[in-house]
């Protein structure tokens, strides 16, 4: 994680990084929000207007067409192999921007400035880039490590609470996979002071955990599957919610996915049930109330089709205790249906 900088002065870090990478020209990728709110923190850079590319919000814009739009600008403006693309925004922006940079002239460098909590603790590390294709999430993409990631929690101050909670679900997950102490610490975090130095330290710990896992298994052949904790059920909930046109965030789905998978962990992997109770209480107390998005049977069928399962049946990452987990734990349909009842 030597390419990730934790700071409360993104502007001066960016200046330093641009001096260091010495590109002939700099391009900037933003969405409408970051164009309005974040770019102004960096106005003294005098980015050329023609070099600022805006992709509107919305998962449907995470497309090959958006990538082609970026390539069009780069190509038209004469970007060269030593040009740099600065991606400022949530995971959508850093994912598309990372993909576009990696494929332009067989790879130009990019600098990511994630501005949502989810992008800071999750998308910032691991080199996953990509776009959706034919309705499938991240179907087209590659692994490509950005030149540098600048994490500045001052950008979080203006985010709506639900967006914060979405990223916070991943921090809970990282804590569960780290240690008992990490779990206690995360549940006591002050979510009203996102821009504090204390919260930046929590972000750093969370990212450090993920970075350690990713380093051990960059292409997700083994231990990196630990990071799927909460996501097997979470993705199914998220897909159902999207189908129904609900305003349901990734992190909301993961939070409830974790409740189900913690229950499975208690039943299958000997997890002490007080962790299940503790996390469940926290999630119920902070996250939007869970409304049944789909029949248990439908959620089960969605899990069967999750691309991360390499054979028929459903494999989970389960917890034995905080910091101890098993990947590829196969569960029977009846066990899964029972666990879904706790939602």
């Amino acid at each position: 994680m030597e390419n990730i900088v934790f700071t409360r002065e993104a502007d001066s870090v960016l200046r330093e990084k641009l001096q260091h990478t010495a590109p002939e020209d700099v391009y900037v990728l933003v969405d409408n929000n970051t164009r309005n709110y974040c770019l102004e923190t960096l106005t003294h850079f005098h980015f050329l207007k023609e070099h600022i590319i805006t992709i509107p919000e919305g998962e449907h814009n995470k497309s090959l067409e958006s990538a082609a739009r970026i390539w069009n600008v780069l190509s038209e403006q004469g970007a060269r192999r030593n040009s740099v693309l600065v991606n400022i925004g949530g995971g959508l922006i850093t994912d598309i921007g990372g993909f576009a940079a990696a494929c332009f002239k067989r790879g130009i460098r990019c600098i990511n400035i994630p501005t949502t909590l989810l992008a800071q603790v999750d998308a910032s590390v691991g080199g996953k880039t990509g776009v959706n294709f034919r309705g499938l999430k991240n179907e087209i993409g590659i692994f490509s490590i950005p030149e540098c990631v600048i994490i500045d929690n001052r950008f979080l101050a203006s985010l709506p609470e639900r967006q914060i909670l979405s990223g916070f679900a991943e921090m809970i997950k990282h804590a569960l996979l780290t240690s008992e102490e990490a779990v206690d610490e995360i549940l006591q975090a002050d979510l009203t002071r996102m821009e504090s130095a204390e919260f930046l330290a929590l972000i750093e710990k969370s990212v450090a955990f993920k970075a350690g896992i990713v380093e051990a298994d960059p292409t997700e052949k083994g231990i990196r599957k630990a990071l799927n904790f909460g996501h097997t059920v979470g993705h199914a909930i998220e897909s159902s919610a999207i189908e129904r046109g609900w305003e349901w965030y990734h992190g909301d789905a993961v939070a409830y996915g974790m409740i189900v998978e913690l229950y499975l962990s208690v039943r299958q992997s000997g997890l002490d049930s007080r962790y299940y109770e503790k996390i469940r209480k926290f999630i119920r107390g902070h996250y939007p109330v869970y409304k049944p998005v789909a029949e248990k049977e439908d959620l089960y069928n969605l899990m069967l089709h999750d691309k991360k399962n390499e054979q028929a049946g459903v494999n989970f990452t389960l917890l034995c205790s905080p910091g101890e987990f098993e990947i590829n734990h196969y569960c029977e349909k009846t066990e899964i249906i029972e666990a879904l009842s706790v939602l």
Copy 2:
């Protein structure tokens, strides 16, 4: 180059490789020619009809749309991360197929079976993949090494002579960059027996030379620029020819590009002029007669815009003697215009 197999039995090597990679399913990318002529050598594989993807010939089909067509089939047919794509064809097929495979679900494996001499001695090694974009060659693409490359010279037997000569220009280039002996050997090759074991040995030497260079500099930061020999002028000739709608092969352009750059080498880098004479004689004797495709001034301007020049002015790779070269050799406009007179 441990991933490249030289053989006269592509079918049995492919069988072995597929056993080794053990994919859940296999996809095949071909063009109309290789679908008709080469696929039949491999019919006993019983590829599923729905898994065979055909991209028509023609540089304009080396597009993002063709890549999307491949992704469509892979996605529709439920290809998974451990699926394998077998690319059978010239450089167009192995370049698009390599790109499509590298970006599908962040990378599935591919096996390349290059069937033209150019693809065998050039595109087969180095991991360059890509598609054209906005009229620019290989503007979108990445470096990605195939699981395996199977080079079988029996596929060359049915190729028209001009296509053979196109690939042979790269072999001459590799020989010039290797040694005096390599130059003598290549000029004595029997081009009427492409399918012979002797010719396969020549291909192997040529590929080994390129592989050595690429290994030393995989991302083209330095010594790999040696491979641009003949190509700075060659690309300018090729672009002019395409603009005029001429039937002019890549290798024809490179052949005449080499004559000009050998002349520059004599003038600038002390190359013994008998190499210039020898190669010039061979090219004039074998390749189509050069017709002036453009004014010298226009060719010069095209070189200025070649993406491989990182600053204003034109840099060349020049030969001091066979096997000894200098990269980034800057030449003045007047010197270049003079050299173009030898065409």
